[in-house]
Symmetry: C2
Subunit: 388 residues, 2 copies
Amino acid sequence: MSTTTTALEDLVRAVRPGGADDDPAAVLAAGAWTALVEPGDGVAGALVATLGAVDALDALRRNAPPSPNPEVRRAFERWAPRVDDGAFARAFRNAAQLGARLLLPGDPDWPGGLADLGLHAPLALWALAPSGPLPALGRSVALVGARSSTAYGDRVTTDAACGLVDRGFGVVSGGAIGIDGVAHRAALASGGLTVAVLAGGLDRLYPAQHVELLHRIARQGVVLSEMPCGARPMAERFLKRNRIIAALSRATVVVEAGARSGATNTAGHAAQLGRPLGAVPGSVYSATSAGTHVLVRDYGAVLVRDAADMAELARDPDEAVMLDGLEALEAPQDLHERRVLEVLAKRPRTVLDLAARAGLSVADTGAALGMLSLGGSAVEGPGGWSRP
Amino acid sequence: MSTTTTALEDLVRAVRPGGADDDPAAVLAAGAWTALVEPGDGVAGALVATLGAVDALDALRRNAPPSPNPEVRRAFERWAPRVDDGAFARAFRNAAQLGARLLLPGDPDWPGGLADLGLHAPLALWALAPSGPLPALGRSVALVGARSSTAYGDRVTTDAACGLVDRGFGVVSGGAIGIDGVAHRAALASGGLTVAVLAGGLDRLYPAQHVELLHRIARQGVVLSEMPCGARPMAERFLKRNRIIAALSRATVVVEAGARSGATNTAGHAAQLGRPLGAVPGSVYSATSAGTHVLVRDYGAVLVRDAADMAELARDPDEAVMLDGLEALEAPQDLHERRVLEVLAKRPRTVLDLAARAGLSVADTGAALGMLSLGGSAVEGPGGWSRP
């Protein structure tokens, strides 16, 4: 399938409804980057921040890494197989057919909270939303939790989402079955703003049971993804997606979660971003409250009972959650964490530096740092990451 | 009814089975003081600590306050109507008939944890227990909670008490229906030590539904009261009794409690004593978990899920609970607290001084200080109490 430049520029205009002043090459390059990298790729973040999307893409096309850093070289090797103008064009065409738009970091309606993700912020976001500027997401709470939610968790979520909407908050979640879905539905039913952040492309709505719900959210709220049309929702992308849920929201509340669930991963992102973290208590015999109890006991999450507590948690954006405990309560679970822990020093080191020393990708290093940070074994300061 | 001195000395020996070296006058005076004062009377504590029970009683009989302090004078006026040798003799006789004994602060088996109560420690304790020295109570956890417990709270309490016994802990509680009773029964069923601290005399076992249970505890554990035989269990005595439950235990755990319950009063005593405080989470819709959630959210209680968590909480007796929040979350509820708050200054003042300024008894002042302290409006330092 071939696409002329002119047709491509039409597609660019289609996904940038308010973008009269756009440089089409910049939009195309930003969209291409969403197809080139996996979510949260800090090397891409650094490269695009330094060169801009167009020159960064040009360097990649010429296989000319702008730095001798081996991690940059490895990143170029990782990205090169995805340089495919046909695939970029398909991503734009499918987005245009869906009525999706492409949000760029410089846009007035680019969510400000994403800036806290630094080099791990999405390079662009694909969005399904009513026409006009994207609603402001600055006053939102993330309600997340187990896919295998209980009647109790569903009831808490419903009451919380409705109460948050009544208090003028948007409800951000991940579109999954269980707590996520209940949160979205209750926010919609209350006439409030709800935002679903997906792990795959907007033409791959997932899960199948929620296709109708996601269409409704697209009509009344916002559906977002940092992945382009065509991208499958894969396990790693769900985990990375969680950082966007946390960054979009003033506070993240875990309603129900197993001891090791994706929701506690989102909680880890919230804590890492210094955003307030809340957890709803429940029966000590409920497997789906085991995770929330751990968050309160061991990770400094605030026990929240209802929408009033959650609104209080979200009220002051400067109020950071202090992570309790200076040592990891559990040994690092996987090789990446152990390797990053070994190269962490008292003196701060950048993620790039640590990744190079650990022999890991920047993304894996960032993920490992996130988990280590959650356990108190790594802290981020002005000069980078260090041991506490 | 008259009682000769010789008969009295027989009664003294009866309630002091191991007390061959006792001075009968000292035992009699200590027992008399339990009948003279209401629990936690700090003026009595100071007087007996200064003069000894015998000389303090003698000063009272002669109406010769050893200090011009108006609070001491008021205390003498308060105690004088209860100077009644017939009543003292009846208290000893009834105790002897029950097989109760009188524990004195100098005894080898006097519970060491009570020392932290300072001048508010009991002047003596009446005990029903198997013969021989009182079992050591130094490794105990207080399990307390709502009289109107739910099936959930009863189950948590049963599992916790059994698990604590398995880990070598005694279980202290208040003998009430609801959580207290379940805690005692489960500890007994596990073959462990359990201690019931009552608000009235040992001949007035209360509540009526628990007379048989309390008899079983007396045979297999310990039933304690700072009140002599004949004393009715009155509301104020229940609240003051709670300080003994907290002081006997390395940690206090509230399993279920309404928003304003006696169990949270016990929790306040534990926090005031610097003892670890735990609270069990539950449904946010359960009225009997409302109090435990408040303790976790607002008073720094540790969320505990099971006996393992409670044992961990009780492990290190030096680990004090830091009370969160420097300002009271609620305005002082009653006149006493308001009056004490008014006379608290930046400069520390003694309880006696504050009581005199507030026009309250030392006991009421102490109780008000306890509540104010729980809310963060009063702090105790080397020189006494002050505003934070």
